[in-house]
């Protein structure tokens, strides 16, 4: 990973220097490069715009349109055609796959579809972009788009980003077109044209490299089409470049999958496999494809010399052939990828304090189990915070929690199972085994403590399980455009993070200063949890009653607020045992004075009266 980062840095520096030199050398190249930059900026703006609309709609469509393969495929085609960004579709697919909303076969179907959908870009550029004065459309789009971007309303802002994005795309294309036209007058690139297999392979490699650098096959295709339109490159070389761009585009998914779960990696693997195989088919059968393209062009009245449209046909055709050939093998592909990319051999965390030497001394043993349980809790709190999209370091600092929540609205997918197996399961099992080994029939005092500590470990594990249940909707709604829904989920995240912060403060205070009658202090936490639960339920009821959220969203929220309540209860129950170190008898007497559920409710009623 370190090597990869280093290579990336060196590569970026080299490209930077080369580009700077080229830009200084040629003003025409300047214009083409500016065109590519504006085009890429347009793509970013377009993605951002669509992202603000993905909430709810895209997710709902995704969940109902991926139960059958043809539906997944159709979803990939349509969503990519509409958004003109296969990267956005791929990234969303990876995040849904990571949390189990999609299975790998459906994910692969979407990726196949996205590959077809992305070919519509070439049609738009070749059929529309080059035929009209595209810059004339770009200007009003930019003006109106930016005006909308400045609005506070999220929908208008999103629309503005899309409009401005399209404006930038058009402007970028126009710059590239003009750049190539003047470039042609000074340098004739066709003198570097290569024919035969050598040309095919070299230009495919150039296509791959250009797409890897720009991380957008769309941008490469625009460059190819504009250069082809002014005959700066030959038709054959343009075909090879298109094949290369199709292979190079997998880099976005590969980079995205580096930090994703194994499912994400498998999907990126499927993407790479599909594009490489399709590329190979196109390379091997390029002559046959050229013949078929000519036939199609002839059939649909495309002029024989209109190479840009013929390139668009070629682009669609070889992707279509790739899909047709590989569609029946999806299930085999799934098996292959599951075998090739197994869940990583997880390095399981081992207990640190449980050793055989402590077994002989009951008090030491209880202390060892307590310390290990604190460690288990620390690992669990990290998992819980990462699942709700927060950094443990920030939550346990003095930063404003509300601000932290707002800053991290988009929750990255986090593999709770992997984290549980790595940081919790090994320690939890060791604690249980250690307690079971200890024979305390002769010493009831320590036996009681160990019983409570075992219960505390169980509470920690239960809290993680409830967090996993909560994760699904949390991820789903982080894209939602209904702010009433996102506000409620932000409350959920805030309350969990706030409790973890309070508990950590309590633990540190108890550790350093010691906490007399500490056990009784937890009744304050318990009343607070009950109040928060009541307030949240009342708030959800009101939102449903006032039609601010759909009943389905309401029921999800009710379930998730109940998971949150359970998580918090488990954490407080754990802390009652683990954070309080006192004489056994005193703790037992304190336990007698802690308030039960009815008594807690009575306290709350007294306050309300």
């Amino acid at each position: 990973m370190v090597l990869f980062i280093m290579i990336k840095k060196i590569l970026l520096l080299t490209i930077f220097i080369l580009l700077a030199y080229a830009l200084w050398l040629s003003p025409d190249f300047n214009q083409i490069a500016a065109g590519v930059a504006i085009f890429l900026f347009g793509m970013l703006s377009l993605e951002q715009g669509f992202q603000s609309f993905t909430g709810g709609t895209l997710e709902n469509i995704l969940s109902i349109s991926t139960d059958k393969l043809w539906k997944s495929l159709g979803f990939g085609v349509i969503s990519t055609t509409l958004m003109q960004s296969s990267s956005l579709v791929t990234v969303i697919t990876i995040s849904f796959l990571s949390v189990g909303i999609l299975d790998l076969a459906a994910g692969i179907g979407i990726i196949f579809g996205a590959n077809l959908g992305t070919t519509t870009g070439a049609w738009l550029i070749a059929g529309f972009g080059l035929k009209v004065d595209i810059a004339a459309y770009a200007m009003p789009m930019l003006v109106l788009g930016i005006l909308l971007v400045l609005q506070k309303n999220k929908t208008l802002k999103g629309l503005g980003a899309i409009l401005a994005g399209m404006g930038f795309l058009f402007l970028g294309i126009s710059y590239m077109k003009e750049g190539f036209e003047t470039f042609r007058e000074t340098i004739d690139l066709t003198q570097y044209a290569l024919t035969g297999t050598k040309g095919l392979l070299i230009f495919t490699l150039i296509g791959i490299a250009a797409t890897v650098v720009m991380q957008s096959s769309h941008a490469t295709m625009v460059l190819i089409i504009t250069a082809l339109s002014v005959q700066e490159i030959t038709y054959e070389n343009a075909l090879a470049l298109a094949i290369g761009s199709n292979v190079g585009t997998t880099i976005t998914a590969i980079i995205g999958a580096l930090s994703a779960s194994v499912e994400g990696k498998r999907l990126a693997g499927a993407h790479l496999l599909f594009n490489v195989i399709t590329g190979l088919i196109a390379l091997l059968m390029v002559n046959q494809f050229i013949v078929v393209v000519d036939l199609i062009a002839d059939a649909v009245d495309i002029s024989e010399s209109d190479y840009t449209l013929k390139l668009a046909i070629f682009h669609t055709l070889f992707n279509l052939v790739g899909v047709a050939i590989m569609l029946p093998f999806i299930s085999r592909m799934v098996i292959f990828l599951e075998r090739a990319l197994r869940s990583e051999g997880i390095k399981v965390d081992q207990p640190k304090y449980l050793n055989d030497a402590a077994m002989a001394f009951p008090d030491t043993l209880v202390s060892a189990v307590r310390q290990e349980t604190v460690r288990l809790y620390q690992h669990a709190s990290h998992i819980i915070l990462k699942t709700i999209g927060l950094s443990p370091r920030s939550v346990f600092s003095e930063q404003d929690l509300q601000q932290l929540i707002v800053q991290s609205r988009k929750i990255p997918p986090y593999d709770v199972d992997v984290a549980y197996n790595r940081s919790v399961k090994g320690i939890y099992s060791a604690i249980i085994a250690y307690i079971s080994q200890a024979s305390f029939t002769w010493e009831m005092r320590q036996s009681g403590s160990l019983y409570w500590l075992r219960e505390a470990s169980r509470h920690i594990v239960e809290a993680i399980k409830d967090t996993k249940h909560l994760q699904k909707n949390l991820l789903k709604t982080s894209f939602s455009t209904n702010h009433f829904v996102t506000d409620e989920y932000e409350k959920i995240r805030y309350q969990i993070a706030d409790l973890l912060r309070q508990l950590e403060l309590f633990r540190l205070q108890a550790e350093t200063a010691g906490e007399e009658i500490g056990l009784l202090s937890f009744d304050v936490f318990k009343v607070k949890l009950k109040e928060q639960d009541q307030q949240m339920n009342a708030s959800i009821d009101a939102l449903i009653r006032e039609h601010k959220i759909k009943p389905e969203e309401g029921t999800s929220l009710i379930n998730d607020s109940s998971y949150m309540y359970e998580i918090k209860n488990h954490l407080v129950a754990m802390a009652e045992t683990v954070f309080i170190v006192q004489q056994q008898n005193t703790t037992e007497s304190e336990r007698e004075l802690t308030l039960d559920d009815n008594e807690l409710v009575k306290v709350m009623q007294t306050e309300n009266d």
């Binding site: 007399e516 009658i517 009784l520 009744d523 304050v524 009343v527 607070k528 008898n585 005193t586 007497s589 304190e590 007698e592 004075l593 802690t594 308030l595 008594e599 009575k602 306290v603 007294t606 306050e607």
Partner: protein, 87 residues
Amino acid sequence: MGKKKLLKKLQDFFDADQREKERHLSDIKRILKKLKEKERKLQKDLELCGIGDKCEALKQELDIIYAQRMKGVKIVKEIKDKGKGKT
């Protein structure tokens, strides 16, 4: 030391149950004392805090401590009653 007193002391010494009760009683009384101290401290804080969320939290904590103290007083009473042979 009189015979009666000596006998009582001996009886107490062997009466583990009684000893446990006394220890229990002293534990609860000690906790009640701590709770009372905490209650006084919180009351002072409340007088200084004025109005706001912090005050509400203090009031709530005071209510909880009061409920805990009442529960403790009840337990003390029960232990004492049992000692006197009341049911």
